[in-house]
Amino acid sequence: MEEIQFTIPGQARYLYLARALVELYAAGAGFPEKEVKRIALAVDETCTNLIKHCFRGDPSRTIHLGVVVDEEKMSVHFHCCDAVSDPVHWRPRDLDELRPGGLGTHIIRVVMDEINFQPNGEFFTLSLVKYRRPGEECT
C-alpha cells in the first residue's frame, strides 16, 4: 500500500493531531481497538521525544510522519536527529527506580514490535513497526 505522509508543527499542542491521524489509520486497517490506542500512544511518545530532544523548544521545526500498512504489519516512519537515534536514549531503565524520566521510551519499546533506525542524509529515519496478530482483520 502507499505510504500516507503528513507533517505537523513540532509543538506539543499539535500532538493530538498525530495521535488522531494514526489512530484513524490503524483502526481503518483493522487493528483491534486496544492495539490502535497503544500505537497512537507510541506515536505520541515518539513525537514528544522529537519535540524535547531534537527540536529543543524550537517551534519552527516540523514532525514528518509516514504511515504504511500491509498484510502483516503497520509501520510509522519519522525523521529524527541523532539525539533520539542514539542507543543510549533507548537503553532500558530500571522501573523499580521510580522517577519521571524515561517512561516514554519504555512505553514505545513495550508497545511496538520493532524500532529501527536508518541513516537518511543529515537525519535518521526512525521506524516503529507493529505486526498483526493471527486473526486480525486486514483491510
Binding site: A12, L15, Y16, R19, R38, T48, P100, G104, H106
Partner: protein
Amino acid sequence: MTTVASIESRTDGVEVVRLTGEVDLNVVPDVQKQMSVVYRKGPKLLVVDLSAVSYMDSSGLAVLVEARSWCVRNSCALRLAALSGYLLDVFQIAHLDQVFEIHDDLDRALEAPPSS
C-alpha cells in the same frame, strides 16, 4: 481536547484534584501549576480523580510520579481514583499499576482506610 486540573478542598487536609481530557505534554505545565497549588496547602490525603481523563501519555504519568514523590517526602497519602480501562492499560505498560494506590471511584478513594 482541553484539559483542566481543578482542585477541590474537602475536610481538613484532604484535597481532590480532578483531571479532565487529554493529559499530554501540551497541558502538563498547567497541571503541574495546579499541583503546586495543592502542595502548598500541605494535604495529608491527596486524591487524583481520573474519571474524566480520556488520554494520558508519559508526560502525564510523570506528573503523578512527581506527586507520589512529594507525598512520600511530606507524609501525605496519595490515591488515584476511577481509571478507565484504557488508562489502566497505560499504567500497566509503565509498570505503575502496582506503585500507586488505585481505587474504583472517588468515594472509595476518599473513604478507604489508611494503607499500612
